[in-house]
């Protein structure tokens, strides 16, 4: 899991799960510390009183992207060796809609719901129960969804290739869009009535 240190034998294979556990705990702690275990905070994005989710995700995306591009340029890493998830067009769209609906209704995404469970939130407990129920139903009815699930695979597609753009031009535009969005979010937050939670 932790490449390239484990596949290259720098860290023994047996440490794989230990490192995974530590990384997971760190991730959960950061989520909780940033207030992501609160469904009200997450819902703020939809109602316009708290855009911290948008800020966190776009900051993470822009930081990682900038890091990868500069590291690749310096020769410290080989970006072409990165694994890119295959893109199944239809299942991404349908899955995105279902996930978005659940997100808006429940106020959690899968990761934050476990964070909520960890600190004993009852709504998070209900959410994760529903999550497992959904997993169970999907597994049982898998033959029905098989075509949708595995259809229209266009491989590790990259958005700038699909748009016919240079990678770095797209990265620059994304940074501008992110900064613009941060500014706009701050503007909306000021206009909307503060919600105490």
């Amino acid at each position: 899991m932790v490449g390239p240190l484990i596949p290259m034998g720098v860290i023994p294979e047996a440490w794989n799960n230990v490192i995974a556990l530590l990384l997971g705990a760190g991730f959960g702690f950061t989520l909780e510390a940033s207030g992501f275990s609160s469904s009200r905070k997450i819902m703020g994005t939809f109602f316009g009183y708290d855009f911290v989710v948008l800020r966190v995700f776009f900051t993470a995306a822009v930081t990682a992207m900038t890091g990868i591009i500069y590291f690749d340029y310096m020769g410290w890493m080989d970006a072409s060796m990165l694994y890119i998830n295959p893109y199944y067009v239809m299942s991404a769209i349908v899955g995105g809609i279902i996930m978005g609906l659940g997100f808006a209704l429940g106020g959690f995404c899968p990761g934050t719901s476990f964070c909520g469970v960890a600190i004993g939130k009852i709504d998070a407990l209900f959410f994760t129960t529903g999550l497992f129920l959904g997993v169970f139903i999907f597994s049982e009815l898998y033959p029905l969804f098989d075509k949708l699930y595995n259809g229209q695979d266009i491989g590790g597609a990259k958005i700038y290739d699909l748009l016919g753009m240079r990678q770095n031009v797209f990265a620059f535009l994304l940074i501008i869009a992110a900064v613009g969005m941060f500014y706009f979010a701050g503007f909306v937050e000021k206009k909307v009535k503060k919600v105490e939670y």
Partner: protein, 206 residues
């Protein structure tokens, strides 16, 4: 607005502008290091001089013997039937076209097999197929084919057969071994001493 946010936004925008001036990331495709290492370990890329000679004599159309030495060295001596492709022009478009012929066995040769092996590694990294190295290089070829050592009379029939093959191949290429060495022999400079005529320079001195 918080000054810290403005500062961070300025940094990220600056980094973004920096990206615009970066050259396109080079998507040079090359084989994985593991594959290259196992290929380097595999001695099957080496072909013997006898094998190459046999194919040259038979005019094997699938053989492409590439001499990677500089053009001057190629001009002074080369294996008949070899093509000059200096190592420094290995990556030119015309050379690539020649190397990408899938139906041919591309065999590199140089004086020893060092430069040829380097050329082989470059081509292997590019993922080219059917590339080989002539073991021992042109020196080995010269010593075994042109200057074939006569085996002892008690040698096995196989050794004698090989010797006869080498002599026949040399005759095929040059007529006789002397002809091959003749082209390499240096023309001796004869130095003629011109003696000064005595008294010629001292005309009219004091």
């Amino acid at each position: 607005m918080n000054k810290r946010y403005l500062f961070l936004a300025a940094i990220v925008i600056l980094l973004g502008v920096g990206m615009l001036f970066m050259p396109n990331s080079n998507d040079n495709k090359q084989v994985s290091p593991e594959l290259l290492l196992s290929a380097i370990d595999d001695p099957s890329r080496f072909l013997t001089t006898d094998d190459i000679t046999d194919r040259l004599v038979k005019k094997d159309p699938a053989l492409l013997l590439l001499d990677v030495r500089p053009a001057e060295a190629f001009k002074s001596f080369s294996i008949p039937g070899s093509v000059n492709l200096p190592a420094d022009s290995l990556l030119t478009a015309s050379a690539m076209e020649m190397l990408k012929q899938d139906a041919k066995d591309k065999v590199f040769c140089s004086n020893s097999d060092v430069t040829a092996d380097q050329a082989w590694i470059i081509c292997k990294r590019l993922g080219l197929n059917r590339i080989y190295v002539m073991q021992g290089g042109i020196n080995q070829w010269f010593n075994t084919i042109v200057k074939a050592a006569k085996p002892a009379e008690s040698a096995s029939s196989k050794t004698i057969e090989l010797y006869q093959f080498r002599v026949a191949a040399c005759q095929h290429f040059y007529g006789s071994p002397e002809m091959a060495t003749a082209s390499k022999a240096e023309v001796k400079k004869t130095v003629t001493v011109v003696k000064k005529a005595s008294g010629a320079a001292s005309g009219g001195g004091c």
